[in-house]
């Protein structure tokens, strides 16, 4: 009765799609931009792949700057820009709302 892990991943994939679908349905229009920006930041979870790629064969000195790893490092930079930029900029946008709210 062994089940291929792929099937599990597929299940997880499909269930996540449902969650993605439902979770934003009721978003307030004024939050469209922050939401987009946070989604963008989250999508740079691709950095996980980048890290694995970059550190592949690490320890083996010769291979450290293998062409594959370089792509990984590049991907890390790109993703990092996105992560920091994305979350921070969202923070800034949301802070704006907060302030207004307090004023009154």
């Amino acid at each position: 009765m062994e089940i291929d892990p792929f099937i599990f991943r597929l299940s997880i994939f499909i269930l996540s799609i449902f969650i993605g679908y439902y979770v934003v349905w009721s978003v307030t229009p004024s939050l469209h931009t922050p939401l987009m920006s946070v989604t963008n930041a989250i999508s740079s979870v691709i950095i996980v792949g980048a890290i694995i790629a970059a550190l592949a064969g690490d320890g083996d000195k010769e291979k450290i700057f293998d062409i594959a790893n370089i792509y990984g490092y590049l991907a890390i930079i790109l993703a990092a820009i996105n992560i920091f930029g994305g979350f921070l900029v969202t923070q800034r946008m949301l802070a704006m709302y907060k302030k207004k709210r307090k004023e009154k």
Binding site: V23, M36, N69, G72, A79, R101
Partner: protein, 464 residues
């Protein structure tokens, strides 16, 4: 770190991302949402690093690059003016797309580390996933760049359409599919590179025919693409975090762009298929060069007013025509319950008969002490957050102060433009009694709410 523990942590970060998106859908929880996102990301990065294990040179480089990227990102985030948000998001997107391409390339070049087989003999499933990830990533990259350029104004916002565009796209699409097929069959790496190149081209072609006004939808759609790319690579790397997050971002991005289309009354299909609809009347009118107006909906108006500390209502003939006075009163009641100070500014010739507005407001039981005439209230606009101009037009037209040629020159007007934001409720851009255009419609702090005054006011009540 055991792979089981790793999987549990990835699950946790996935859940945190879900909570992040959830949080972002209402203003009260939005900051918490962002916080969840940050934690989720930190966990994901952290455990990945731990899982890779030995901390030698590569690890140092990793940290360095992470910091470089992070600093650049932080710098941009702090420096960018708030008005440039949409293009910023588009720009960031392109990076995610490119990162996905790089990771795919890396996996392709060095499949062993990822357990995908050896170069030249990569598992078919992995090859498919990998090339799909790379292709979508590439499309996201160039697509986002075009969107960025359009929003930034570097490229014209009007749709670029040429003959046979759709056929070209179709041909390219078929080519992509065949290339993936050949790649799987032959494992020749030229195909892989070609796929990426063609995908770059497709990204450009997909976005250029879309008009500037639709860019937010496009960005959200590209967002969704980048999610799918991540999910694809997640399958390749057998990485749950990537799968969950990718699917999450993919579907929520798609839904968000759908919601945005609905909000703007545009056909989702047309926007996404880029330019398909550009020949029908609706899109045509936006492709004409016009003075741009900011177009809002009831939710935007509700949000603005709910968060204002003072609102001035400026009723005009349109309120009378729409018989919106009762709805207006309801709306004001709701606002007052939210702690907003609301007053009414009555221009001496608003409407079509002396005292026209007074009759209607009295009918709706608006207390007299909230109703002010022009001279009493005109200075208050400078200190008010929102002026809600409902069916008035001429009485707010600043041309009366500036242009001696204008037929209304010399008439005192309500200085609504001095308030922080101005909401204009009217059905179109057409002029009022005096037949002259109102410059305020095109101002930066103006939001046009195109609808029947009663309908719009009722909608605002609903979203308050």
């Amino acid at each position: 770190m055991s792979s089981n523990l790793l999987a549990v942590f990835y699950l946790i970060s996935g859940v945190l991302f879900i909570l992040a998106l959830r949080g972002l859908s209402s203003p009260e929880t939005s900051r918490r949402g962002n916080f969840f996102g940050i934690i989720g990301m930190t966990i994901a990065i952290f455990v990945t690093i731990l899982s890779v294990g030995n901390f030698s040179t590569g690890f140092i480089y990793l940290l360095v690059f992470l910091l470089i990227g992070g600093s650049i990102g932080a710098l941009i985030a702090f420096k960018i003016p708030m008005t440039a948000m949409p293009e910023l998001v588009a720009g960031f997107h392109s990076l995610v797309g490119l990162a996905a391409v790089f990771v795919a390339i890396s996996a392709f070049l060095n499949p062993t580390v990822f357990n995908l087989g050896i170069p030249g003999d990569i598992k078919i499933a992995s090859l498919i996933e990998m090339s799909l990830g790379a292709s979508i990533g590439a499309i996201t990259f160039t697509g986002s760049i075009i969107a960025f350029l359009k929003l930034r104004g570097i490229m014209s916002g009007s749709p670029i359409i040429f003959l046979g565009q759709h056929y070209l796209n179709l041909v390219l699409g078929i080519t992509l599919v065949s290339l993936i097929f050949y790649l799987c069959k032959t494992q020749i790496d030229t195909w892989f590179w070609t796929i990426i190149l063609i995908s770059f081209l497709v990204g450009v072609l997909l976005i250029i025919p879309i008009g500037g006004a639709d860019m937010p939808v496009v960005i959200s759609m590209l967002n969704s693409y980048s999610g799918w790319a991540a999910a694809g690579i997640g399958f390749t790397l057998e990485n749950t975090a990537l799968i969950i997050t990718g699917a999450l971002v993919g579907s929520s991005g798609a839904i968000l762009s759908y919601i945005m289309c609905k909000g703007m009354n545009r056909s989702f299909f047309n926007v996404i298929l880029g330019g398909w609809g550009a020949t029908d009347d609706k899109t045509k009118s936006t492709s004409k060069e016009q003075k741009p107006v900011k177009n809002g909906n009831a939710d935007d108006a509700a949000f603005l007013m709910k968060n204002a500390s003072s609102v001035i209502i400026v009723p005009g003939y349109g309120m009378a025509v729409a018989q919106a006075q009762h709805a207006l009163r309801e709306m004001v009641d709701s606002l007052k319950k939210n702690g907003v100070k609301v007053t009414y500014a009555i221009h001496p010739v608003a409407g079509r008969m002396p005292g026209h507005m007074n009759v209607l407001l009295a009918e709706a039981n608006v207390p007299y002490d909230e109703v002010f005439e022009l001279e009493e209230i005109n200075n208050d606009f400078a200190n008010c957050d929102v002026a809600y101009v409902i069916g008035a037009n001429d009485v707010t037209n600043p041309v009366a102060k500036t242009d001696p040629q204008s037929p209304i020159y010399g008439m005192p007007i309500l200085d609504v433009e001095k308030s922080k934001s101005v909401l204009f409720v009217k059905r179109s851009l057409s002029p009022g009694y005096a037949g002259i255009d109102n410059d305020l419609f095109y101002r930066d702090n103006t939001l046009m709410l195109f609808a029947d005054a009663k309908k719009m006011t009722e909608d605002i009540i609903k979203s308050l």
